[in-house]
């Protein structure tokens, strides 16, 4: 396995909520990344933000790892949840809150 896949695996194993995004939660550099970041913050979730723009290998690597063509990508408890569209829909329908509550993350 490549080093970048190992890095991603260890991040999603060691952190209950991980957001791979463009920019940081303090300074997002894309509207979709900002959208997920704000959703999580509004729900009071503690999460780790990983800026894919800091590393070109990671920027491509996360797409290959998840088999998902876009960023942001949200992982909860080691499982891929979705990008902005899916996370937003889940939040609107209360599914995201239910999932976080079930995992005692908010």
């Amino acid at each position: 396995m490549s080093d970048i896949f190992k890095f991603i695996e260890s991040e999603i194993r060691e952190n209950p909520v991980v957001l791979f995004m463009k920019g940081t939660k303090e300074m997002p550099q894309c509207g979709f990344s900002a959208g997920v970041s704000t959703l999580l913050s509004d729900l009071g979730v503690t999460y780790k933000d990983i800026n894919v723009l800091a590393d070109p290998e990671l920027r491509q690597g996360i797409k290959d790892f998840t088999n998902w063509p876009t960023i942001p990508q949200l992982y909860i408890d080691g499982e891929f949840i979705g990008g902005f569209d899916i996370v937003k829909e889940m939040a609107e329908e209360g599914e995201l809150q239910a999932l976080l509550k079930e995992k005692q993350l908010c």
Binding site: G31, F32, N67, W68, T70, G83, F84, D85
Partner: protein, 74 residues
């Protein structure tokens, strides 16, 4: 690279012939699209699986921003 509404709609219609499809040009530049697709083929599939079906159809197009909404047919 951009894609015209006609080409986008036709590509999606070919892949989802029975679906109700709407394409919205979010920025008026043919490069920021929101597509809403209602199709029975999504039934019983996870959101991730539904989105992957749409991503696959558009994988050869380099669209700057693509927002996808999938649902069952009304």
């Amino acid at each position: 690279m951009t894609i015209s509404e006609k080409e986008l709609l036709e590509t999606l219609q070919q892949a989802f012939p029975e679906a109700q499809i709407a394409c919205l040009d979010l920025a008026g530049d043919n490069d920021h699209w929101e597509v809403t697709i209602a199709d029975d083929s999504f039934n019983g599939k996870s959101r991730i699986a539904q989105h992957r079906m749409v991503q696959e159809v558009l994988q050869n197009y380099d669209i700057h921003a693509l927002s996808i909404k999938t649902k069952r047919k009304a």
